[in-house]
C-alpha cells in the first residue's frame, strides 16, 4: 500500500456544475497522485469551494465523475462511501468544530464512530493528534468557544487527522490567521506530507503558502482548469488573471519572474 508514490488518490473528470442558468464549472479535470501537496486557486466565485464539496461528496455535480481513493463518489453505495469517508479528512474554513463538545471529544468523534478501539487507546491517540496539530495538551479540555481562530484551525486539523487519513482536504487553512501563525500552519501541513505521507489538497489565497510549501498549483478560472503545474510553471502562464494574481508578489520584490507579458 505504502509502496509507490505513483498511485492516483483523486481523479476529477470533466465536472460540470450549473446553478440554474449559471454555469460554474464547465469541464474541470485533473488528478492528484499520492504524496503531493496540491493547492487550488481561483478568483472569487469561480467555484473552488463548490468543487471541494463535490469532491468529498457533499454536493452533487451536474455532470462528470469524481474518483476519490478509487471510489466513484457519486455512484458509490452508502456503505462504500462510508468506507471512503474514514480514509480522508476534511478541515472546514472555520473549523466546524462541534460546539457542544470539548476539543478532545471533537477529535475523538471519528475514532469513536469509525473504529472499535478501547478507550485506553483512544484517549492517548486523541492527545497524540492534539500534539501533532501543535496544540498544548491542556487544550483538549477546552470548548471550541474558548479557542482563538488559529487554535480552532489546529483543533480542526487534529480532528481531520484522527483516523490517520490518506488524504486531507483543507478549505482556506490560513485565512484569518496572522502571518506568523499562518507560516507555522504551512509547516504543519508540509510536515503531514513529508513525514506522515499524507496527500494534501487545499484551497487557498495565501501567496506565501503557495510559494513556500505547495508542490503543485491548479488554477480554476472561467469554469475550467486554466493552469496546472508547479508554482513556477503557473507563474509563467501568460494569462492576465494569473499575472495580476502574482504581480502583488513581484511588486514587493519577493517573486523573481520578470517576464513581460
Amino acid at each position: 500500500m505504502l509502496a509507490a508514490g505513483k498511485d492516483v488518490i483523486l481523479e476529477v473528470d470533466s465536472i460540470v456544475t450549473r446553478f440554474g442558468a449559471q454555469t460554474i464549472h464547465n469541464g474541470v479535470s485533473f488528478s492528484v497522485p499520492r504524496g503531493q501537496l496540491v493547492a487550488l486557486i481561483g478568483g472569487s466565485g469561480t467555484g473552488k469551494s463548490v468543487l471541494l464539496r463535490e469532491i468529498i461528496g457533499l454536493m452533487r455535480p451536474t455532470a462528470g465523475t469524481v474518483r476519490l481513493l478509487g471510489t466513484d463518489v457519486w455512484k458509490a453505495s452508502a456503505a462504500e462511501l462510508s468506507k471512503v469517508r474514514s480514509r480522508f479528512g476534511m478541515m472546514f474554513q472555520d473549523g466546524a468544530l462541534f460546539s457542544s463538545l470539548d476539543v478532545a471529544h471533537n477529535v475523538a468523534v471519528p475514532l469513536l464512530e469509525h473504529t472499535d478501539l478501547a478507550p485506553e487507546l483512544i484517549w492517548p491517540l486523541v492527545q497524540l493528534r492534539i500534539a501533532q496539530a501543535g496544540l498544548s495538551p491542556d487544550t483538549g479540555a477546552k470548548m471550541p468557544s474558548e479557542l482563538s481562530g488559529g487554535m480552532r484551525k489546529r483543533a480542526a486539523i487534529a480532528r481531520a487527522l484522527a483516523l490517520e487519513p490518506e488524504v486531507i482536504f483543507l478549505d482556506e487553512p490560513t485565512s484569518g490567521l496572522d502571518p506568523i501563525t499562518a507560516r507555522a500552519f504551512d509547516k504543519l501541513v508540509r510536515f503531514l506530507v513529508d513525514d506522515l505521507g499524507v496527500t494534501v489538497f487545499l484551497v487557498t489565497h495565501d501567496l506565501d503558502t503557495l510559494l513556500t510549501v505547495v508542490d503543485r498549483l491548479i488554477v480554476l478560472a472561467k469554469g475550467k482548469v486554466l493552469a496546472d503545474g508547479s508554482v513556477r510553471e503557473v507563474m509563467e502562464t501568460s494569462d492576465a488573471w494569473v499575472q495580476s494574481y502574482f504581480s502583488v508578489r513581484t511588486m514587493l520584490g519577493g517573486g523573481n519572474d520578470a517576464h513581460a507579458s
Partner: protein, 381 residues
C-alpha cells in the same frame, strides 16, 4: 550463563520477542496501522514478558502509522523498558520518522487519559454558582434597563417609533390568530367542564360566572403570557443572540447608536403595550367560546348568556387580569433580551439561551401570578 533461546516468529505473527545475550529484541511484522490496532494490541498482550528489551526491529513491517507506533511504544513503556533506549532497527526511513515523532510526544500523553468527567458535588456547586450569577446579572440588567427608561423619560424624542412599531407588529399583531384560537378553545373547554358539573345541580346559568371570571382573572392572562413567552421571548433571544454573534450589536455601538435605544427599549415597550391588549382580546374570545358551548350543550341562548354576564362579571375582575399583563410582559422582555445579549461566542449558545428564555419566562409568569393571587386576596379584590 544464560541459555540462548530463539523463538522464530511464525508466519503472519504481528509481534514477537527474540532473546539473546545482549537482551531482547521486539520484532514487529505485518500491517501496524489504525484499522489493525485491535489485532496488534492482542498480539502484544499474548507475548511472554521479556527481561530487557534493547532493540525494536521493524524490518518486516508492511505498514506503520502513528497509531501503530503509539501502541508499540506504550507496550515498551508498560513492560518497563524506556522507549528511547530501545534501538530501532531495520525500519524504513518513513517508518523511522513516525516512530521518532511519536516517541518525542510520548512523555506528554496521559498514561490512561480517561475523559475528564466531573463529580456530583462539582457539578452541583457549579450550578449553584451559575444560578447566583444569573440572579445577580438580572438585577444588573434590570438596573440598566431602568436607567434606559429614565433617560427616555427625560429625552422622549429619543424613542425610536419606527423600531417600536416594527416590534409591536411582531409581538402583538402577528400573535392575534394564535391568541384568538387558543383562548376561544379554552373558553369552550371551561364551559363544557363547568357545564357537566353545574347541570347536576340545576345551576347551569352559573357556567357564565365561571367562564367569565375564570377567563378574565386567570386563564387569559396566563395563557397569553405563556404564548408570548414562547413566541416573542424566544424570538428576542434568538434575534439579539445572532446579532451579538455577528457583531451587529458592536456595530450599533461603534456607529454611535445605543443598543438600549435601538434594540432593548422598543422591545420592552412593544411587549408591555401588546400583552394587555392581547389579554383583553383573550377575555372576549374566551367568553365567546363559553357562549358557543353554553348554547350547544346547556341550551343557554346568547341573550340570556349576556344578561348573566352583566351581572356576574364585575369590572374589577377584568382589571385584575389586565393589571397583571404588563408585569408579565416586562419580565418576559427582560428575560428574553438579557439572554440574547449574553450569548457567548458560539452558535450553540443561541439554542441553549433560547430554550432557557422560554423556561425562565414561563416559570416567572406562574410565580408572578401566584404572587398576584396572594396580593389580590389580601386587598380583597
Amino acid at each position: 550463563m544464560t541459555p540462548r533461546s530463539r523463538d522464530t516468529p511464525p508466519q503472519g505473527q504481528l509481534a514477537s520477542i527474540e532473546t539473546s545475550d545482549g537482551g531482547a529484541t521486539l520484532r514487529l511484522a505485518g500491517d501496524w496501522r489504525l484499522p489493525r490496532v485491535q489485532a496488534v494490541t492482542a498480539a502484544l498482550t499474548a507475548l511472554p514478558k521479556p527481561a530487557r528489551v534493547v532493540a525494536v526491529d521493524g524490518g518486516s513491517l508492511t505498514g506503520l502509522d502513528t497509531a501503530g507506533a503509539l501502541v508499540a511504544l506504550r507496550y515498551l513503556q508498560r513492560i518497563g523498558a524506556d522507549p528511547k533506549s530501545a534501538a530501532p532497527r531495520n525500519f524504513t526511513p518513513h517508518h523511522q520518522r513516525i516512530i521518532e515523532l511519536v516517541a518525542g510526544q510520548l512523555a506528554e500523553l496521559p498514561a490512561i487519559g480517561k475523559a475528564h468527567s466531573r463529580g456530583f458535588f462539582t457539578t452541583a456547586g457549579r450550578d449553584v454558582v451559575a444560578f447566583a450569577d444569573l440572579l445577580v446579572s438580572y438585577v444588573q440588567f434590570l438596573g440598566y434597563t431602568a436607567a434606559g427608561i429614565g433617560t427616555l423619560v427625560l429625552h422622549p424624542w429619543r424613542l425610536r417609533l419606527k423600531e417600536l412599531a416594527a416590534q409591536f407588529q411582531q409581538v402583538g399583531i402577528t400573535a392575534i390568530p394564535v391568541v384568538v384560537l387558543v383562548t376561544f378553545l379554552i373558553g369552550v373547554v371551561i364551559a363544557y367542564l363547568l357545564g357537566l358539573q353545574a347541570e347536576k345541580y340545576g345551576a347551569s346559568i352559573f357556567v357564565v360566572d365561571g367562564v367569565a371570571i375564570g377567563m378574565a382573572r386567570e386563564f387569559s392572562p396566563i395563557l397569553v403570557a405563556v404564548i408570548i413567552a414562547g413566541r416573542s421571548g424566544a424570538a428576542f433571544t434568538a434575534q439579539l443572540g445572532t446579532m451579538k454573534l455577528t457583531e451587529e450589536t458592536d456595530a450599533i455601538r461603534v456607529l454611535g447608536l445605543s443598543p438600549m435605544d435601538v434594540l432593548i427599549l422598543p422591545r420592552v415597550f412593544a411587549i408591555v403595550v401588546a400583552l394587555p391588549l392581547l389579554v383583553f382580546l383573550g377575555d372576549v374570545m374566551g367568553i365567546l367560546g363559553g357562549m358557543l358551548m353554553a348554547k350547544t350543550t346547556l341550551g343557554i341562548i346568547p341573550a340570556t348568556y349576556i344578561e348573566r354576564l352583566h351581572a356576574a362579571l364585575h369590572l374589577k375582575h377584568v382589571v385584575a387580569g389586565l393589571v397583571k399583563a404588563p408585569v408579565f410582559a416586562f419580565f418576559i422582555a427582560i428575560i428574553g433580551i438579557r439572554m440574547g445579549m449574553t450569548v457567548s461566542r458560539d452558535t450553540r449558545a443561541i439554542g441553549v439561551n433560547t430554550t432557557s428564555t422560554v423556561v425562565q419566562s414561563i416559570v416567572s409568569v406562574i410565580l408572578l401570578d401566584a404572587l398576584f393571587a396572594v396580593v389580590f386576596e389580601k386587598l380583597g379584590i
